[in-house]
């Protein structure tokens, strides 16, 4: 039976992680995502499903615990917030290189440095352009509600195992901390060890039994082999774009102006679209749900229809670069966004659309 609850985004994510049958969670406290591990600890998941939850000595240890469990075919997650994710990037790069499935959650706060504990979307570059060292990308899901904080856990594990690659859920302090109603799905069983050994026997290090040894590594000292590995990763990313691109269009059919926004900014922009429509402005919203792959083609398809695009994000302008690349200079694009932990209002967004796009001669 599914269940309706009133929960914080972080708690919904934690509960969903137990319910999808995850095997382990390793984390380290940091505001504004500490509720994830706090909630898990109250639930005694070891009794509910046998799931392992461990507070590591650092974000670095936590991500390497994820690496370890993932290398044996277990479903494993870690979560953190911006400064903690910076620390995890080494491990994330290793997982991308070693082709390990895992789910990483970033409940973003403002930066740079220690920054602020208030919400932000300033980790866009870090999330979608690689972040750690080397030639890799992460599949990035951006939830815009508490419901999606719960739902995307299952989606993220599915993608992680489909491609044998780390997947990032890019949330922020607003979505993580706010309370909304959420429908939780039924409990699923964890995969039995025997099934893991059978299913992932061609790569997972579960003990050499009835087969040749498995080795998990990201190291290839032979240039040709290393290049082949990098190209193998590239193929996965191309396949992700073809098969697993996700986005949402709201009021786009007759739109003359377009807002592009993800996560909490998309939620706020949706209200800005409503306010604009009340004033007679034909404005629509394109919301990327996956930030990598980015909905380039759906955006490009709108260039002959809309007169201008406002890219809205809680940063000084990061996603706008991908929006501009997608529309290939065929339509004016401007950025709007507050930083420092300040959350823009729908009115501010609408005003920015009017000032930067509509009055700027784009019509």
């Amino acid at each position: 039976m599914s269940e309706l609850r009133l929960m914080k985004g972080n708690e919904a994510l934690a509960e969903a992680t137990i319910r999808v049958g995850a095997d382990a969670y390793f984390g380290y406290p940091i505001t504004p995502q500490s509720e994830v591990i706090e909630y898990l600890m109250t639930q005694r998941p070891e009794n509910r499903t046998g799931m392992v939850v461990l507070q590591a000595e650092s974000e670095i240890a936590a991500i390497n615990m994820v690496y370890g469990a993932a290398s044996t075919g277990k479903r494993v997650m870690t979560s953190s917030s911006s400064p903690g994710i910076s620390l995890k990037l080494e491990g994330i790069s290793y997982m991308a290189g070693a082709e390990l499935p895992a789910v990483i959650v970033n409940v973003v706060r403002g930066g740079p440095g220690l920054g602020t504990i208030q919400p932000s979307q300033a980790d866009y570059f870090q999330s979608v352009k690689g972040g750690g060292h080397g030639d890799y990308r992460l599949y990035v899901l951006a939830p815009a509600s508490v419901q999606e904080m719960a739902d995307f856990v299952e989606d993220a594990f599915e993608i992680a195992f489909k491609y044998r690659a780390p997947v990032l859920i890019l949330s922020d302090g607003l979505i993580g901390q706010m309370m909304e109603k959420v429908v939780l799905k039924d409990q699923k069983d964890r995969m039995p060890d025997e099934e893991i050994i059978e299913k992932y026997g061609d790569w997972a290090t579960t003990g050499k039994k009835g087969r040749e040894r498995n080795i998990v590594t990201s190291l290839d000292l032979q240039p040709e082999k290393m290049e082949a590995r990098v190209h193998r990763l590239l193929k996965k990313y191309e396949q992700m774009e073809k098969e697993d691109l996700r986005y949402e269009k709201i009021n786009c059919d007759d739109a003359q102006y377009l807002i592009v926004a993800y996560g909490s900014s998309a939620r706020i922009s949706q209200k800005a679209v409503e306010l604009g429509r009340e004033k007679g402005i034909k404005v629509g919203l394109l919301r990327p749900i996956t930030l990598f792959p980015f909905p380039k083609q759906p955006l490009f398809e709108l260039v002959n229809q809309v007169k201008g695009i406002l890219s809205v994000e809680l940063s000084t302008g990061q996603m706008i670069e991908d929006v501009k690349l997608a529309v290939d200079c065929k339509v004016p694009v401007a950025h709007f966004g507050r930083t420092g932990g300040i959350i823009h209002t729908p009115e501010e967004i609408l005003e920015a659309l009017e000032q930067k796009i509509i009055k700027n001669g784009s019509n």
Binding site: L54, A61, S71, I215, L219
Partner: protein
């Protein structure tokens, strides 16, 4: 009589364990790593536990341990092997999980992971090869480099005032309640090889009994890094390394000796 007449199973007194691959070892001739690898593999072979054993390789000279050990191995980021092993052991509680690490990996960059895995008493084996130098990167100073010892980053000898003292990480972790068995061994003579093998076997047996963390340090030479011939390096090790890193059990069955 031909050689083939002599090579028969009934005449055989020793054979290479099938858990060592036929790949050429990447270690310098005279280095102790090969022997340490071999001992670990012999123990796993003799205990019949290969199907349930997962190794964790480090970064350093033994980064390619997986080329030589014919078992399932995950290669960890520099210093993070104890964290990697923690998760494997926690999610597969009936498996034998071990890390194989050098001094830079375990006692410098991975100090936090080492201490906390020991403190939690993870049910794993840590094999720690201490040769007082960074071998793979070309002979830089390690946390265990002796006072006055010359390396490429302490060209005038390790100066305690500015570079600190060589770290006795093994004594340090022996004082944590989570460690069950802590010992320091060597592999440069037959006598020492036999003792070291016994220690490694004890460690894996502790895992079987779920006793917690077993830590086997092996003080080894690095003839290339120390710029000596192999024999000379072993004599230097006995005269200089052993007084500072004395061999023997430090903690047995959870009790300090």
């Amino acid at each position: 009589m031909e050689v083939t007449d002599i090579i028969k199973p009934e005449n055989q007194v020793f054979s290479k364990t099938c858990l060592m691959t036929d790949a050429n070892l990447s270690y310098c001739p005279g280095c102790g790593h090969g022997t340490a690898h071999n001992l670990a593999m012999e123990v796993i072979d003799e205990m019949g536990i290969v199907e349930d054993t997962i190794g964790v390789a480090p970064v350093g000279c033994s980064v390619l341990a997986y080329d030589f050990m014919n078992i399932d191995i995950t290669q960890a980021a520099h210093g993070r092997a104890p964290a990697v092993a923690t998760a494997i052991s926690r999610t597969w509680p009936n498996k034998y999980v071990f890390t194989y690490q050098g001094d830079g990996d375990l006692a410098a960059i991975g100090t936090a992971e080492t201490i906390h895995a020991c403190n939690r008493g993870e049910n794993i084996v840590i094999i720690f090869v201490n040769n007082g130098i960074y071998g793979m990167t070309g002979g830089q100073m390690a946390p265990t480099t002796l006072a006055g010892m010359r390396t490429s980053t302490s060209p005038f000898g390790r100066e305690i005032e500015t570079m600190g003292s060589p770290l006795k990480i093994t004594e340090l972790i022996a004082n944590l309640p989570g460690t069950y068995y802590v010992t320091r061994q060597a592999v440069h003579t037959h006598k020492h090889v036999r003792k070291a093998k016994k220690a490694i076997k004890t460690a894996f047996k502790n895992t079987r009994l779920k006793k917690g963390l077993s830590f086997v340090e092996i003080v080894s030479n690095c003839n290339s890094g120390w710029k000596m011939d192999p024999n000379e390096s072993n004599i230097w090790m006995e005269e200089n390394m052993f007084p500072y890193f004395p061999l023997g059990d430090i903690k047995v069955k959870g009790k300090l000796k």
